[in-house]
Structure formats: structure tokens, C-alpha cells
């Protein structure tokens, strides 16, 4: 075999091994890399930060385990932001699978805050500071009906309490009382909030997206239909950076810790692509 043929015939298991090693080593030997916050994440942070006191932050958890590594850090950073600023939170999901992940994220952040709390006022209490509304099929029902009345859709919350009896939902009738709705999704849910709820009722929408969806969803950010975006693990890291630096909220930053591994893996893939192209060009010449 000619020399350059080897460049074209690297065994796939060697590629797998290299990818595995470049991901693992930076996690075992971590380095600190500060992320630079870009405009989309900054816009979303500002939009959430400026929610008036009488309005609520609605968080749509629409990611499942398949996209959890990208979306969960976004959800956790967003909840830390809301709880630190004492913004009331109403969580829901348009599908079944994300509901358990919503509960997981809410429980984790609540425990973080309550572990540091000195008094009841500092604590995060279910029903007073946040509510998990749950899931109602099909998605078109909450998308359209919550503009009329949230309790029409979610008469009881996830745990079976009447939503209109909870302190957090007092004075929260419909989308007019929602400061912003942030959809953290591995799919197209943010587009449905724009197409149905925003078009009909004018609710502000932000999104936490997987990086796969980023290039398709930017067209809605450019028009202002999205108030802000968190894009992929990098977007989650940017929001974590904002929450820690602006609000001094401590906590594990999974997305930020992953940046060195991400860098190494990107470089490895670029090297493999270049190797493949060198072999290809050399073969074309002979």
C-alpha cells in the first residue's frame, strides 16, 4: 500500500479510542477556561433578570435523556438565576419523558439553596417560590389554552394540589402574567411557543437549544421572536458564567467543566478530517 493509503484507512476503533482519550484526559486533569459570553446568552439573561415582581418565569422542560448533557446545565443555571433573584417559577413540560428531568433539576437546585439558607425567607419552598404544573396532552392544549387561563389547563399541579390554591400562582391568570417563557428543548418546542402562544398572545419567549438546532433557530433570534438563546453546552457555560459572576451563586458548573474536553475533541476531529483530505488529495494526484 502506498504511504498515503494508510491515511485513508485508519481503523474506526482507533478513531473511537482517540476520541475517548481526548475527552477523558481533560476531565481527569482539568484546566480552568473562562468562557466569553456572547450576545444571545446575554440577551436571555437580561430578559429573565428584568421580569417584574408581579410576573412569573415559565420554564418549559422539553429535553429528554438523549440531550440531557446539553440541556440540563441550562435548566440548572436558569433556575439558580430565578431563585437567587426570587423570581417565581412555573415549570411544565409538553411531553412525558422530560417531566422526570424537570423534577430532577428543580429538586437539585432547591436542595442547593436550602442547604445554604439560614431562614425560611432564604429557602426555596414548593408552592411559595415555584410550582411544577406537569404535563397535559396534546401540546396544542397548553400552547393555546394558557393564554386564556393557566388553571384551565393545569387545574391541579404535578403533585395533585389545586394550582389556584398555591401562593406562587396568586395573581397569575394567563400569559399576560408571564414575564418570559423559556423553553429548554432538544427539539422544536421553542418554535411551537413562538408560532402558537407568541403569535396569539404576545408572550415573550426565550430558548435553550441543542447545538444541532442552533443554525435553524437563529432566524427567529434575528427577528426578535426569541428574546435570547442558550446554544448547546457552550451556551449553558455562558449562562453559568453570568449567574456566578453577576449573582455570585455557587454550584457545580458541568457545562463550564466540559469546555477543555470539548476543545480537545474538536481539535481531534479537525485533525482526522485534515488527514482524510490529505490522503484524498494525494490519491487524486497519482
Amino acid at each position: 500500500m502506498k504511504g498515503f493509503e494508510y491515511l485513508l484507512k485508519i481503523d474506526r476503533r482507533i478513531i473511537y479510542l482517540v476520541i475517548g482519550v481526548v475527552v477523558i484526559l481533560p476531565l481527569i486533569f482539568p484546566t480552568v477556561e473562562r468562557v466569553r459570553v456572547m450576545a444571545p446568552a446575554q440577551s436571555l439573561f437580561n430578559a429573565v433578570d428584568s421580569i417584574p415582581e408581579d410576573k412569573i418565569l415559565m420554564v418549559d422542560f422539553d429535553y429528554d435523556p438523549q440531550t440531557m448533557p446539553e440541556n440540563e446545565p441550562m435548566a440548572i443555571a436558569l433556575l439558580r438565576h430565578a431563585f437567587q433573584r426570587r423570581i417565581k417559577v412555573a415549570a411544565l413540560s409538553l411531553y412525558v419523558q422530560p417531566l422526570a428531568l424537570a423534577l430532577k433539576a428543580l429538586d437539585q437546585v432547591t436542595e442547593e439553596f436550602n442547604a445554604r439558607a439560614q431562614t425560611s425567607a432564604d429557602s426555596i419552598i414548593y408552592g411559595r417560590d415555584y410550582v411544577l404544573l406537569g404535563w397535559q396532552p396534546p401540546p396544542i392544549v397548553p400552547l393555546l389554552e394558557m393564554g386564556i387561563s393557566i388553571s384551565n389547563v393545569y387545574s391541579t399541579d404535578y403533585y395533585g394540589y389545586r394550582t389556584d390554591s398555591l401562593p406562587v400562582m396568586q395573581g397569575i391568570e394567563n400569559f399576560n402574567d408571564v414575564g418570559i417563557l423559556v423553553s429548554i428543548s432538544g427539539g422544536n418546542a421553542p418554535l411551537w411557543w413562538i408560532g402558537y402562544s407568541q403569535v396569539l398572545y404576545g408572550v415573550a419567549v426565550g430558548a435553550g437549544l441543542t447545538a444541532v438546532s442552533a443554525s435553524d433557530f437563529y432566524i427567529y433570534y434575528q427577528t426578535g421572536q426569541f428574546s435570547g438563546l442558550m446554544v448547546g453546552m457552550k451556551g449553558a457555560a455562558e449562562y453559568e458564567e453570568l449567574v456566578e459572576s453577576r449573582l455570585r451563586v455557587p454550584g457545580e458548573r458541568k457545562a463550564s467543566e466540559a469546555m477543555p474536553s470539548l476543545t480537545a475533541a474538536h481539535l481531534a476531529i479537525m485533525v482526522f478530517i485534515v488527514i482524510g483530505n490529505i490522503g484524498y488529495l494525494m490519491r487524486r494526484r497519482t
Binding site: 412525558v96 387545574s155 447545538a211 443554525s215 427577528t223 448547546g232 453546552m233 466540559a258
Partner: protein, 213 residues
């Protein structure tokens, strides 16, 4: 190293390694994990459907709260099960027609407004769009460039005429924009896929083995 002794963490780690074993080749561990995933996911689905929807929205309002008119919806919903009986399987079209019809109808104005009208508004050369970039007079250049890009991309997808002359030039420019768009999409896709792997490795090395803090 600070390995956890929580049983559930070991179960999670075992199942993770079963799936990773597919990288070598398909094997019984992978097949077992794959089928377990489908079964457990559907078990969870049934739980939430019952506790979250069927009981509180369907059955309790009818039989415990006396809202008898809801029985019409219950009967229509049960028509889904006629699919399993060949003689009456056509009845499944009724609930499908209702749910799909309403969703399809609602999608039409939503798509026109959000995906067409607002997108046109974001493309045309107006002072609001110039100001959107927060870039002073450079905003005009970016808006014009965006306008050219959108129209040239659209011209590339116009296949009713041969791409010659003016159309040839605009479609060539359109291809340049499309290639850049797809390149950006690929770059982000790489980040997405690697992120998913990093998440699992963080679990194995952090939560399970305690190697990373």
C-alpha cells in the same frame, strides 16, 4: 478515587457500559439494555398518562365529579382501540380526524405568521432592521447583505428555469450562502455530539468512580 457504593449508581454505570459495548460490536449486553430501555420508558409513560391525564382529566371528572358530557370524549378516545378489530378498524379515523384536524388548522396561521410574515419583516430594508444590529451605520450593510443572501438562496431553489444569466449569478451567490450555513450547522453539530459523550463520561468518572471532583 472515591467510588460510590450506591446500588442505583452501579446499576446506572452497568447499563451505561452495556450501551458503550456496542462500539466493539453488537452483543447480548447491548441488546438487553436496548430492550430494557424501551420497556422502562413505556412503563414510565403509562404512569404519567394515568396519573397526569386519564384519571384527573378523563375518569375522575366523569364518575366522581358528575361532568357527564365528558363521556362523549371518552367514547371517542376509546375508538382508537377499534384499530385492533378489522371489521371496525375504520372508526379509528374519527379520533385521528378530530385531533389531527384541530392541530393542522391551528398550524396554518401559526406558520404563516411566525415562519413567513415575521421572517419577511426581518429581511426587508427598513430602519428598524438597520438598528437591530446595534452597529450604527454598519447595520445598513449587514441588513443589505442579509437581504441579498435570502433572495439569492431563494433563487437557487427556483428550478422552473435554467440557472443561466442573471439567475445563474444569483443562484451561484445563493450556493455560497448555503454552504456557509451548512458549514456552521456542521460545526455546531460536532459540538452537540461531543457534548453528549462528555456528559456520560462526567457521570462515569465523577458520580460513579469519583475520579473527577
Amino acid at each position: 478515587m472515591n467510588t460510590s457504593f450506591d446500588i442505583w449508581l452501579w446499576v446506572s454505570a452497568f447499563l451505561t457500559l452495556c450501551i458503550f459495548s456496542f462500539l466493539y460490536k453488537d452483543n447480548p449486553f447491548y441488546k438487553f439494555a436496548e430492550h430494557l430501555f424501551v420497556g422502562a420508558s413505556n412503563g414510565y409513560l403509562v404512569t404519567i398518562i394515568w396519573h397526569g391525564s386519564l384519571w384527573p382529566q378523563g375518569i375522575r371528572p366523569i364518575f366522581a365529579e358528575g361532568n357527564w358530557w365528558l363521556i362523549i370524549a371518552l367514547i371517542i378516545g376509546m375508538l382508537y382501540f377499534t384499530r385492533f378489530f378489522p371489521r371496525t378498524s375504520w372508526l379509528v379515523r374519527i379520533p385521528i380526524a378530530i385531533v389531527m384536524g384541530y392541530g393542522t388548522g391551528a398550524a396554518i396561521p401559526a406558520t404563516i405568521q411566525a415562519d413567513i410574515m415575521r421572517q419577511i419583516q426581518g429581511t426587508v430594508l427598513t430602519p428598524q432592521n438597520f438598528a437591530r444590529w446595534n452597529a450604527g451605520s454598519t447595520g445598513v450593510i449587514w441588513t443589505v447583505l442579509l437581504f441579498i443572501g435570502v433572495t439569492c438562496t431563494l433563487s437557487y431553489f427556483y428550478f422552473s428555469r435554467e440557472h443561466k444569466g442573471v439567475l445563474g449569478v444569483t443562484s451561484r451567490i445563493g450556493i455560497v450562502f448555503i454552504m456557509i450555513g451548512f458549514g456552521a450547522a456542521f460545526g455546531y453539530t460536532v459540538m452537540a455530539r461531543i457534548s453528549l459523550l462528555i456528559g456520560r463520561i462526567q457521570f462515569l468518572l465523577g458520580d460513579w468512580l469519583g475520579i473527577i471532583q
